[in-house]
């Protein structure tokens, strides 16, 4: 339901009025449904969420979906045209520079309003990096419905939510060490028995066969 007040610029300006010091950024959505989202900075996320819940124009009292997304490190290649002197002649040369864009983990919140029956307002909070800087404020004190979903994001992505009442693994067992939904997760190798492999399963089965030959296991 896209009304005018749900346009991201409107929400941005209103939240900036209500929560001083917050830094918001609009992320434009390329698909036809035009569900644009707002990136909130980590320090003011809790205040911004409380504001959206209590503000009489918005009353976003229902968090519908909390998702984790993994954006690994990417390299961006830029082609820059510069004028340089080569062999005495000034020419235009193209130089490609590679910039590394650091990876981060993200939590996306889809907010709706049961009272005013509008939505969605989409908030995104990003971590600093994919290693130790993976702390985000928990929005469970604002919306109880985020409790289990944040636990799931902790289990599968490794984002630690500060302020969560009970942060432990929910879908995998407690002794499990990895974060399976990350893009660089390596699956355990139990592809010994594969009668009709093809495509990527064939690759996995071949790799297992090589490993068995080299380690001389069972």
């Amino acid at each position: 339901m896209d009304t005018d007040k749900n346009a991201p610029e409107q929400i941005k300006s209103r939240v900036e009025v209500g929560v001083p010091g917050v830094r918001l950024e609009v992320v434009v959505n390329g698909s036809p449904c035009a569900q644009h989202s707002l990136v909130v900075d980590r320090e003011h996320a809790l205040l911004a969420a409380k504001f959206l819940k209590e503000d009489p124009a918005y009353r976003m009292d229902y968090v519908s979906n909390v998702t984790g997304v993994d954006w690994p490190e990417t390299t961006i290649k830029e082609i820059v045209k510069t004028k340089e002197v080569v062999d005495g002649v000034e020419r235009e040369i193209e130089r490609t520079t590679e910039k590394k864009k650091s990876g981060f983990l993200e939590a996306v919140y889809h907010l709706y309003s049961m009272e005013l029956k509008h939505g969605p307002v989409i908030l995104r909070i990003r971590t600093e990096n994919r290693a130790e800087g993976n702390h985000l404020p928990s929005l469970t004190p604002v919306w109880r419905g985020a409790e289990f979903q944040e636990r799931e994001i902790f289990d599968l992505y490794g984002i630690v939510f500060d302020g969560h009442p009970d942060l432990r693994r929910i879908l995998m067992w407690e002794e499990f060490k990895d974060y399976p939904m990350r893009k660089d997760y390596v699956e355990p190798d139990d592809y010994e028995y594969e009668p009709t492999p093809h495509d990527d399963v064939l690759e996995k089965a071949k790799k297992h066969a090589e490993k068995v030959l080299t380690t001389d296991g069972h």
């Binding site: 879908l171 002794e175 499990f176 355990p188 010994e192 028995y193 594969e194 066969a209």
Partner: protein, 204 residues
């Protein structure tokens, strides 16, 4: 025994049989399953016990809640690595003679979820399975056919000699080690006494 004598006696109301036949007949017509549905196949198992595809006529309508009172475990649904120790523990708690039916593609080999990191690729990695039912989910008629095949299998068991079943053979263990949760996977990943990956011949 002479067939003519047998039919004469049966006309008089005297029925003769062997101990083996009687023992097997009693066991096969009163198999009590353990109420153990894991996923979607469990719904088809419930539908099989309902009025349309009646499981009661095979003597198997009483789904026992406790493993100590059951003789058949129908593993219906995907066995995940988190659930696998519980399945093996339940199997160990069942008294002999006990049978396992692996119902559905997931219980046989992981099924459509074979690429999952948490999916156990077949329950026969840890416990011996008697009947496999393919399908996703198998129709209730397929489960009935599997039950009838199991009944046939029980009927053909002999009481003494080399081919006697596990529960009459003191040398073969009836309990299997329970896997534990490791850091990345279950420990051990399979039970080598029960399951060996078959030797594969690849063309390339």
């Amino acid at each position: 025994m002479d067939e003519g004598l047998r039919s004469e006696l049966s006309k008089q109301g005297i029925f003769t049989t062997t101990l083996e036949d009687l023992y097997n007949w009693g066991r096969k017509n009163s198999i009590w399953p353990l109420g153990f549905g894991l996923a979607c196949c469990a719904i088809e198992m419930i539908a099989t016990s309902m009025a349309r595809y009646d499981l009661a006529r095979f003597g198997a309508e009483v789904f026992r809640p406790s493993p100590r009172q059951a003789d058949l475990m129908i593993v219906a649904g995907t066995v995940t690595k988190k659930m696998a120790p519980q399945v093996v523990r339940l199997y160990n708690q069942m008294p002999e003679p006990k049978y396992v039916i692996a119902m559905g593609a997931c219980a046989i080999s992981g099924g459509p979820f074979k690429q999952g990191y948490n999916v156990l690729k077949g329950i026969d990695r840890y416990i011996p399975v008697d009947i496999h039912i393919p399908g996703c989910p198998p129709r209730p008629e397929a489960l009935l056919h599997a039950l009838m095949t199991l009944q046939q299998k029980i009927d053909e068991q002999v009481l003494t000699g080399e081919r006697r079943p596990r529960h009459l053979n003191a040398d073969v263990p009836g309990e299997f080690p329970v896997p534990e949760y490791g850091e990345h996977d279950l420990v051990p990943t399979n039970n080598p006494d029960v399951w060996q990956p078959p030797a594969l011949v690849r063309e390339d």
